[in-house]
Structures are given as C-alpha cells and as structure tokens.
C-alpha cells in the first residue's frame, strides 16, 4: 500500500455509505418520477412525463406549493428577526449563564420533534393554554385560531428551526475581531452605527447560511405541519407522504417531491446570488 | 557529536526553487545559523535536514551516511519549533517523556532523565503543569528540554525566539548558547534576526533566494561581507564608489568622495569598485564640510545621518560624547582598514 492510498481508506466508508444510500436512491427518485402510475400497484411499466404535467395542471397543487414556499419564507424571516439578538448575546456574552443559554438553544434539537410539536398543539388549540390564558385574562373575546392553519404552522416551525438560525449567526459573530468595532468607534461612530456598519455586514455569511438552512428545512418539514395543520392545511411535504403512503402513487409522489426540491433549490440559489458577498474569502 | 553534510541540496515547489543546490559542512558540536530574509529557503533547508520534506536533488549526510531514505522519525533529531508545538493534552513531564517513550526507555530512566533536563533548563518542579499554564519563556524552555532529553544527534531550531518579547529574547540567546556549549551538540539555528545569528553562532550561513551567499564566522560576515546584498542584510552599511588610481607595493590606491586611501589587495588601475563602510567606522569631528542632517539618540549610541560636500547622505554611529546636533558642520574620519571592497 503506497503512502498515497492510505489516507483514501479513511474516506472510503463515508463514500460508500453516501453513494449507496444517498446518491443512488436519489437518482432512483428521479427515475421513479417518470414512471407510469399503476393501478393498485405502486407503479407500472413504461415512462412518461405525465406526472409533472398532472402537478402543474392542477391549481390545488400549485396553490399548495405556493403556500408551502410562503410558509417557508415567513418562517425564515421570523427566525432571523427573533434569533439574531439571541445569537448576538450568545456570541458576545460571557459568564456563568452562557452555558445555560447555550443549552437552552440546543434543547429543541435534543428533544424529539414529535414531543415539541405535541407541546405546540397543547399551547395553540382553541382550548389550548395560550387561548385559555388570553381569554381568561380578558384580553380577547374569542379564541384566536392558532391551530389547523398556516399561522400555527409558522409559529411551531419557527420554534423548531430557531436553533438552526441562531447557531450559524453566533458562529459568524464570534469570528468577528472585536478590535474592528473599536476601530469604528475610534473613527467617530457611535455604538449603534458601529454595530450596524461593522458587525451586521460581517455577520452576513452566518445570516446567509442560517436563512438557507431554515428555509430548506421549513419547506420540507413533515411532522410539524402534519400535527399542527391536521387535515385542514397540508404543506407540500405532507402531500407527498400522503401520495406515497396512503394512496401508493409512487411516480406522482416522486414528481411532487422533485418539484418541491428543485423549486426550493432555485429559491436558495437565487437568494445566495443576491446576497453574495465579494469580500468573503473562501475558506 | 554528529557532523552534518549537505551536498548540492535542492527542493522545488512547483516552479519555485526554494532551495537551489546548496552545499554545507557542519562540524560536530558546531552552532551554525542559517540567516536570511523570509523566503530565502532557510526553513525549507531545516525541514529537509529534519526529514519533514523530501529533497529533489542532492544528499544529506549525518556522519557520512546519507539519511535521505530515513523518515523524520528515524533520524534521531531534536527539534524546537517557532510556536513550541508542545502537546496540550500532556503535562510538561508527559511532553518530555514522549520522545523517550518512543525509544522504549524504562520508566525509571525516563523519570531520571526528565528531572535532569528540567534542572538543566531551570524549570524544576513544573513537571506536573500543563503547557497552557506556563509563560511563553517557560514553554520555550520546555520545548528545548523536550528536544534535548532524547540526546539526539543534532539539534534543529526554527526561529525559536520569534514569539518572545525583547528582554526575554536577549536572555534566552545566552541561555540557549550556553546550554548548547555544555551539551556539545551539533546545532542548526534558523533565524531572520542578524543580531541573533551574530551573537550565538560559530558559523553564519547567509542565504538569499535558495542559495548560499556567504559562509563564515560572525566577524567575517560582518566585517568582510562577500557581496553588497550580504553587507546590506547584516547590519547597516554605506556603500561608496571608488576609482582605482594606481597599484601600490602592497595593494592599490583608490580615491573616493571621502578621500584617498591605500587598500591591500589587488585591483586594476581605472577600475571602479564599491566599498562597504559600516556606520560605526565613520568618526565625526567638529568642523568640516559635511552637515549633520538627522540625529537619533538610542541610549548608548547616537545614529546620525550626514550629508557630505558632494551631497551624499551617509549613516554614521557614534558615542553620545561629543554630541552633534542637526545642522552642525562635521568632518568625516575614516580609516583605510575599515573600507571593504565588495565583489
């Protein structure tokens, strides 16, 4: 064994796992989306592009796709606005509480998604905690509709995905040399201006990474929209699973999944282009 | 007490010749410095000797035996890195024991030798500390101890004092040189700091662009530089032009803007030569046709800039007494022996 070949052995297992269980299956999905739908069986022989046509021809699916993308975008924005200050505090703060705060941010990742979504159903229902408290305190007359609709999904998804926004931004801010802000102050910039013109732009790579991650995860989320949206509001991913598991329409389900992935991918690429930062050095 | 021999050693990175056919003989027990600016190939040469890089051409001999086939771990070298490279997960004792453990020494011997070397570097009692708990100077001494405790054939140091503050650097220079003399180990020291090289070495090897510009004792390098580049790099220097007038009995007569001088050596009449003159070799006497243009007091000495009657600005250095101020008229006194013709 030459010295060159040795290190390659290290990547071999990962390469195998990714090729066999990721690459090939994904390629298979592309194939599957072009198969003929079957009657009573998952798929029939033959090839067609009809599955895609069926999707684009049906306003129901188009609206659902648009709805899903909308939910994704709003969730991303919410996570950004809510999460940025927290990321700032985590990156800059020091002291004993830091470990605790960091742990709290990680908690959603460590607690099952089912449990979290379940908690939201308890909180958001008409008879749920939030509404009962608000009504009980006399702040509102009728319960707010927070379940079984887009708003509830957005709230729950924001909760689920907040860590994915906070952590990359925190990382980016931690990498900013504190001397830069001081330099700005020495040049006459006030605290706010220095923050706005030095910290925020320099944290842009983290913001970009966080937004892309959250958006992608939001549009492809299954459990949370399924539990919160129930039968009334279904996002695209829920529809896909329905088509596959409940109605056994493998080709159509695959086509739907592919469309969702491609459109989502296009949005991400467009976003990355728009927010491209020329000054960022490639690592 | 190993002799090291480099024969037409070369190393390329892509099209860049980092080391371009250098040959060098290092006697046993000698302290040799590789001196040069960044990129001159001194660190690459060190890495080739250590075995971290493989040479493209030439040979490296330890006591006459070619070590090219030996990987670094088998060359029995001791190396001190610029940022010390102490293992953070091991204590000082653990770091020191590492090399001995690789050589499968018994535990009692390791303990004994570790204690001895800690004594040698004056860090007794710190065996249980971790590197992060030590100061920069202490870490440096641990790095030195780690390299010496294994009693290697040669000691290699890669700009070890670069990260220390000025006073510590001065102390460590003497410390390292002293230690090396006591142990008697052949040592190769890489630095870009010429005063380090001059104060510590038996021999200085000046390198530019992957090649050796001059090898010699510190005095040779400083007083008799082989080229203008060497003269410029090692200390400050004035280079003045001279015209050879006539050949004399033991040398020749040359006329310069500072006067006429008789120098030993050979030259052809009519030849134009360059002469190196160190600032401290220019004597300043009150009254003359040169003017002081700048004066910087640095404690024990004063650095002057003087404009000659011809308009040339020369650098001079003198004791603070007598002290001249900007604008004073001075005469420049130079002895012929202090003029060195450059190749």
């Amino acid at each position: 064994m030459t010295r060159r070949a040795g290190p390659l052995l290290l990547i071999l297992p990962a390469a195998l796992v990714l090729t066999v269980f990721l690459l090939i299956p994904y390629f298979n999905i592309v194939l599957m989306s072009m198969r003929m739908p079957g009657n009573g069986v998952p798929y029939a022989s033959g090839w067609t592009l009809g599955n895609f046509a069926k999707f684009f021809a049906d306003p129901f699916y188009l609206e659902q796709l648009g709805n899903t993308l909308w939910i994704g975008a709003v969730t991303t924005l919410a996570c950004l606005l809510i999460g940025y200050p927290v990321a700032l505090q985590l990156a800059r703060g020091a002291g004993a509480l830091r470990g605790l705060r960091y742990g709290i941010v990680l908690t959603p990742l460590l607690v099952g998604i089912v449990i979290r979504s379940y908690g939201w159903t308890i909180l958001l229902g008409n008879n749920g905690v939030l509404n009962r408290s608000l009504v009980g305190w006399g702040l509102i007359e009728a319960p707010l509709p927070l379940m079984y609709n887009g708003l509830g999904i957005i709230i729950a998804l924001t909760h689920v995905l907040l860590p994915f926004m906070i952590l990359p931004i925190m990382g980016a801010i931690q990498g900013i040399d504190p001397a830069l802000e001081l330099a700005a102050r020495s040049l006459g910039a006030g605290r706010n201006t220095a923050f706005r013109r030095v910290v925020v732009p320099l944290s842009l790579p983290g913001i970009q990474a966080g937004c892309i991650l959250v958006f992608v995860l939001a549009i492809s989320a299954y459990v949370t929209p399924a539990l919160i949206g129930g039968l009334r509001v279904k996002t695209a991913a829920v529809s896909v699973v329905d088509a596959l598991i409940d109605s056994f329409q493998w080709p159509f389900g695959s086509a739907m999944a592919l469309i969702l992935a491609v459109i989502g991918g296009l949005v991400v690429v467009g976003f990355a282009r728009l927010t491209r930062m020329k000054w960022v050095r490639a690592r | 007490m190993t002799e090291v021999s480099l024969r037409r050693l070369s190393k390329q990175f892509g099209s860049f010749r980092a080391v371009d056919g250098i040959s060098l003989e290092i006697g046993h027990g000698a302290f040799v410095s590789l001196l040069g600016p960044s990129g001159c190939g001194k660190t690459t040469t060190l890495k080739l000797i250590a075995g971290f890089e493989a040479a493209d051409g030439g040979a490296i001999l330890f006591d006459g035996a070619d070590v090219a086939r030996l990987p670094a771990e088998q060359r029995d070298i001791g190396m001190v890195f610029q940022n010390y490279a102490l293992f953070p997960h091991l204590t000082v004792g653990g770091n020191l024991a590492f090399g001995l453990e690789m050589r499968k020494r018994p535990r009692e011997e390791i303990a004994r030798r570790t204690a001895e070397v800690l004594d040698m570097v004056q860090l007794q009692g710190l065996a249980g500390r971790y590197p992060r708990e030590l100061s920069g100077g202490q870490q440096q001494r641990v790095a030195l101890a780690r390299a010496l405790v294994i009693e290697p054939r040669i000691l290699l140091l890669d700009e070890p004092l670069a990260n220390l503050d000025a006073k510590l650097r001065d102390e460590m220079r003497f410390f390292i040189r002293d230690l090396q003399k006591r142990v008697g180990i052949t040592t190769i020291y890489v630095t870009h700091d010429q005063s380090e090289a001059l104060t510590m070495s038996d021999q200085v090897v000046v390198m530019f662009g992957g090649r050796i510009a001059q090898i010699g004792a510190p005095e040779d390098i400083y007083d008799r530089p082989a080229s203008r580049a060497v003269a410029d790099f090692v200390g400050r220097v004035n280079v003045i032009a001279g015209q050879v007038n006539a050949v004399e009995a033991k040398g020749y007569r040359v006329s310069t803007e500072l006067g006429d001088f008789v120098l030993t050596g050979t030259a052809r009449p009519g030849q134009t030569i360059e002469l190196a003159l160190r600032p401290e070799a220019i004597g300043l006497v009150a009254g003359g046709d040169a003017t002081v243009v700048a004066a910087a007091y640095s404690g024990g000495l004063v650095d002057y800039r003087v404009r000659t009657a011809h308009g040339r600005v020369l650098e001079a250095q003198a004791f603070p007494v007598p002290r001249f101020a900007v604008g004073d008229a001075v005469r420049l006194d130079v002895a012929a022996e202090r003029l060195w013709p450059l190749a």
């Binding site: 505090q89 952590l167 | 250590a50």
Partner: protein, 263 residues
C-alpha cells in the same frame, strides 16, 4: 448599573428562551395532570399517568427499539464520520470543501425526500422494509453530519506542528495517531456520537417511512398515540424521554467533561 438598552435586550432574550422552552415545559407539566383529559393548567398534580405509562408494554417496546436503533446507528456513524473528518481536515487538500458539502448533504436535503428515496431503494432491492436495513441506513444518514461536524471542528484546532514535533521525537504513524491525534479528537468524537445518539433517538420522518410492520420507535409510537388518544399518558412518555435525554447529556458532560460543540 446596566443601561436601559441593555436591560431591554436581556429581557428580550429571556423571552425568546422562554419561547424555546415553552412547548417542552408545557408537555412536562401536562404529564402531571390528575384528570383524564389533557388540560392546561393541570387540574391537579399526580403521577397517575406515569404509572399507566410504566405498565404499557407498547411504549417500552418502542423505547427499546429506539435505543437499539440509536446505538447501532451511532456506532456506524461514529466510525464512518470520524474517519471522514480526519480525511477532510488532514488529507483532502483542494477537495476539502467538496468533501465537507458531501458529508453535510443528508442534513441539507429534506429528510422526507431521503426517506422516500431509501424506501424505493429497499423495495427495489427486494427486501422492502423487512429487517432493519432501510431504517438503519436512514438513521446513519441522518446522524452522519453531526458526527462529522463535531470531529472536524475539534480537528480544526489541531496544529500540524504537533504532528511534526511527534515525528521529530521518533513517533511513527501509528504512535502519532494513538498518542497525539486521538486524544485531541476524543472530545469531538464523543460529543458527536452523543449528538448522533440523541438525534437518532428522536428522529421521526425517517423511522416513519422506513419502519417495518410491527416495529415502532418511540417517536412513531407517540405520534400514533397522539392522533387518537387524548389522555396525558403521551405527555408522561414524552417527559420521560426528555428527562432521559437530559440525564444522558448531563452525565456524559460531567463524566467526560466535554462541551457539545456547535456546528
């Protein structure tokens, strides 16, 4: 005295932390409900639903399944992810970014899509969801990026001079790996495996689509239960799972003194 601005900022952050903890807090509290229905605030406090849960073999079987799957997936991911991280940081050269993206791919691709892809794959191979091949493959894919990120992060702080120093002291490749590299990456490996275990334990979508008939992991069982059942038993099970996770994290942090790394 902190400025008003700092206090508002601090208070805002605490509100967000409360938001992050709210659902979990609610579930745990609801599990102590003494009544038969899931109300909040609880009508009274009692452990009765915990007793019901402890007697329920269905949930215990699901917990055992989850633990088993998580353990196997973690071992596999741990080995594969660690060696991949070592490769990426030390040996990948110009391919460094490409390897990184490839290893993070399962995280960036929709879990739902990956699960579907695996489903078709195992059916295509003829084994379907029998046996745990598909399920394990899915869990390995989901956990791999976390092991990789953790180990790679701890490796990034590895200085190449340490390796050179070890070589200069006479250490061969195996000795360097064992005595210098391994101790450095140990926190990263353990942290990554811990993360992987917990992620696998809690993952839903992958298990949902790839489970074989009759077996269920805990999240699946909980989900099933929630669709039809409205007693606080599910809350008790959930709380138990949360506490289990917490105990695992705290114990390993104390025992091994490591921090779970960010990605």
């Amino acid at each position: 005295m902190k400025s008003l601005r700092a206090m508002i900022f601090g208070a805002y952050c605490w509100v967000v932390y409360a938001f992050l903890l709210a659902p979990i807090f609610v579930v745990v509290l609801a599990s102590f409900n003494s009544g038969a229905f899931l109300t909040f605030p609880p009508q009274g406090l009692s452990l009765r639903w915990y007793y019901v849960f402890f007697d329920n073999e269905v949930f215990w079987r699901a917990i055992r399944t989850s633990l088993w799957v998580a353990a196997v997936a973690t071992v596999i991911s741990g080995a594969v992810g660690t060696s991949a991280a070592i490769f990426q940081v030390r040996f990948a050269g110009r391919g460094k970014e490409a390897v990184r993206i490839a290893m993070l791919a399962p995280l960036l691709l929709p879990e739902v899509l990956t699960a579907i892809a695996l489903l078709f794959f195992v059916y295509g191979l003829g084994i379907g969801t029998k046996g745990m091949v598909g399920l394990l493959a899915g869990h390995v894919l989901v956990t791999l990026p976390f092991v990789f990120m953790n180990v790679a992060a701890s490796l990034e702080s590895f200085e190449p001079d340490w390796d050179l120093a070890a070589r200069s002291l006479g250490a061969g490749r195996w000795a360097r790996f064992r005595r210098v590299m391994l101790p450095m990456i140990k926190p990263g490996v353990i942290g990554g495996c811990l993360f992987a275990f917990i992620i696998s334990f809690d993952t839903f979508t992958m298990s949902f689509l790839l489970k074989s008939v009759g077996t269920a992991t805990l999240p699946i069982q909980l989900y099933d239960y929630l669709r039809t059942n409205f007693t606080p038993e599910a809350a008790a099970v959930s709380s138990f799972s949360v506490i289990l996770t917490l105990v695992v994290v705290v114990v390993s942090e104390k025992l091994l003194g490591l921090k779970i790394r960010r990605f």
